[in-house]
């Protein structure tokens, strides 16, 4: 996480929160205009991290520094209340104030800072038109669609001109069709925002589209961090591999051969030594009814444990070793009579195996 060192980071946080039987201990730093995604399964501690940065939960140790100002540091007793932090937070379910119009929701933060009603409303109007909702200014939250409510919540947070914007699962409450367009639009607003942004999500696509840095959290710890494309291509945990739909195998490399931890041998193109990860795309694995002979140097007998239609492909889960997921065409399923319990042979080309050190 020292990727940002050398460049002045806007947010510099080391978050430690202890709860009975669980703890969060992660470091986050975000540069100005940077967007960092916290990616992780439910219960990993993503939302706890956001709450700690926003000041809705106190740290047990560590510190939160925003633009050189210490906001929370238990060791020195510094604590800044959330209303004085200049940190905007968009909640997963938006929490728009139900008894106010969209305009008054957006104007709320400005009014709270003592701005006159007329001026606050004018600013709110301009924010609403920026998110394309000028015509909906008088509507109550209950009269807005999910996508519209999300944009009002974003405008409400941005209207207070925060130095740091926190988004908690910003697209989780939307249906799949809306999510696409809102995600693209959100990207546009984040590009225009000159503060730093932290997005919490469990959807790798959010991280890929919105963020320039991804921090993967599992069980309160950072398990991987880096550029989204790298994280997606070279996952380091089973969770990330599953998210991006890849087979992640671990083993010990000796030249062009990897002995996988489950005992299988895998020939690879590049030579490595020591502990490595191996990634195999599900579509790069072939299925045969009998032991194959020919160019693929890697083949293993396996038993199918599930067969499921996924879009245009059929996804198979096979029990090896190694255990793999495989994507095949519906034709192949019919030709090879692929059913649960079927005995098959799986093979992969050495050139399709991506290998990188642990």
């Amino acid at each position: 996480m020292s990727a940002n060192r050398g460049v002045e980071s806007l947010l510099d946080a080391h978050l430690t929160v202890n709860r009975p039987g669980w703890s969060l201990d992660i470091e986050i730093s975000v540069q100005p205009r940077g967007v960092t995604a916290l990616l992780g399964p439910n219960g990993a501690g993503k939302s706890t991290a956001l709450q700690a940065i926003a000041g809705l939960r106190k740290l047990d140790a560590g510190r939160v520094v925003l633009a050189g100002r210490v906001l929370d540091e238990p060791a020195s007793g510094v604590w800044v209340v959330p209303e004085d932090r200049a940190v905007g937070l968009v909640f997963q379910d938006y929490l728009l104030f139900p008894r106010m119009s969209a305009r008054d929701n957006v104007a709320f933060g400005l009014r709270a800072r003592g701005m006159s009603k007329a001026e606050a409303r004018e600013r709110a109007n301009s924010w609403l038109s920026r998110v394309g909702l000028a015509a909906h200014a008088d509507r109550r939250p209950a009269e807005l669609s999910g996508g519209q409510a999300q944009r009002v919540a974003l405008a409400r947070a941005l209207a207070t001109d925060p130095g740091l914007l926190l988004l908690d699962e910003p697209l989780a409450a939307l249906d799949a069709a809306t999510r696409m367009s809102v995600r693209t639009e959100l990207r546009r607003h984040l590009d225009a925002f000159d503060g730093a942004t932290v997005v919490v999500t469990h959807d790798p696509l959010d991280a890929l589209v919105l963020a320039d840095t991804v921090i993967v959290i599992e069980d309160g710890r950072v398990v991987q961090a880096g550029a989204p494309a790298v994280v997606a291509r070279q996952p380091r945990t089973r969770y990330v591999a599953q998210l991006v739909g890849l087979n992640l195998l671990r083993g010990t490399a000796c030249g062009g051969v990897v002995r996988l931890d489950d005992g299988a041998l895998l020939a690879v193109r590049d030579e490595h030594d020591g502990s490595v990860f191996v990634v195999l795309r599900p579509a790069a694995i072939s299925v045969y009814a009998r032991e194959p002979h020919g160019s693929p140097r890697n083949s293993w007998p396996a038993v199918l444990t599930s067969v499921e239609q996924q879009g245009n492909a059929v996804r198979l889960a096979a029990s090896g070793p190694p255990d793999l997921i495989v994507d095949v065409t519906p034709d192949a399923v019919a030709d090879l009579r692929l059913t649960v319990g079927a005995q098959v042979w799986l093979s992969a080309k050495a050139t399709d195996a991506v290998v990188y050190p642990v």
Partner: protein, 272 residues
Amino acid sequence: MISAPRTPRIVQRRRSRQPYALITLAAIGVAFLALPLVGLLVRAPWHSVPHKLASGDVTTALRLSFETATMATALSLVLGVPIAWCLVRLKIRGRAVLRALTTLPLVLPPVAGGIALLLAYGRRGVVGEWLLRAFGLSLPFTTAAVVVAETFVAMPFLIISVEGALRGIDARYDAAAATLGASKFFTFRHVTLPMLAPGIVAGAVLCWARALGEFGATITFAGSYPGTTQTMPLQIYLALQDDPDAAIVLSIVLLGVSMAVLIGLRDRWLRA
């Protein structure tokens, strides 16, 4: 022998059968509550109603009841809503004790409440003696004492009602407002209060109705002086001793007015 097609019919009959035990008990309960009112209407000396109503005493007492009940409700709103907020939103130690304390008048016999008020605010009372010496103020047996007695007895109704409504409001709205830079008080006024409005109105109606009917604490702490402390319930009680017909007429008037106010408010506010 079990025949399969019969099963659905049995299910259907089961579903349509009413819970007669519950309905019977409810009917008995309704009769129990309604019969005294019926008795009041049946035995009312209707021929003398216009005459009784025309007397100044009734209108004076009625007006006094309305004014004091309304003031007691206002006082309960000003003090009770913040109490409810503190009970729900503040993490304070001894909250259970505080809640018990603020709702104590619900279980305390009103007459005992009146005696307690006398001991606190009477001329020889803990606070009253000081009030008298420092400001020359004497509370007991004044209209203000009526308001104090009614507030003491009726405010817990408001507190309980508002507290319940407040519990139903997501505390994360406060968190959202805080991240937007709003102080707790600003948030209370602009976010919490509008969301709380139906609960506050319901509580205020209950509180007002309770204050309007207050008898025990009022007669103990404020006495029964026509024009200053003699509210309708007090007048009814006194009339019962020498002119039962007048007591009946007064009861009907109080009943009619209370019903009219409650029904009017219910239609506008209390329909969830």
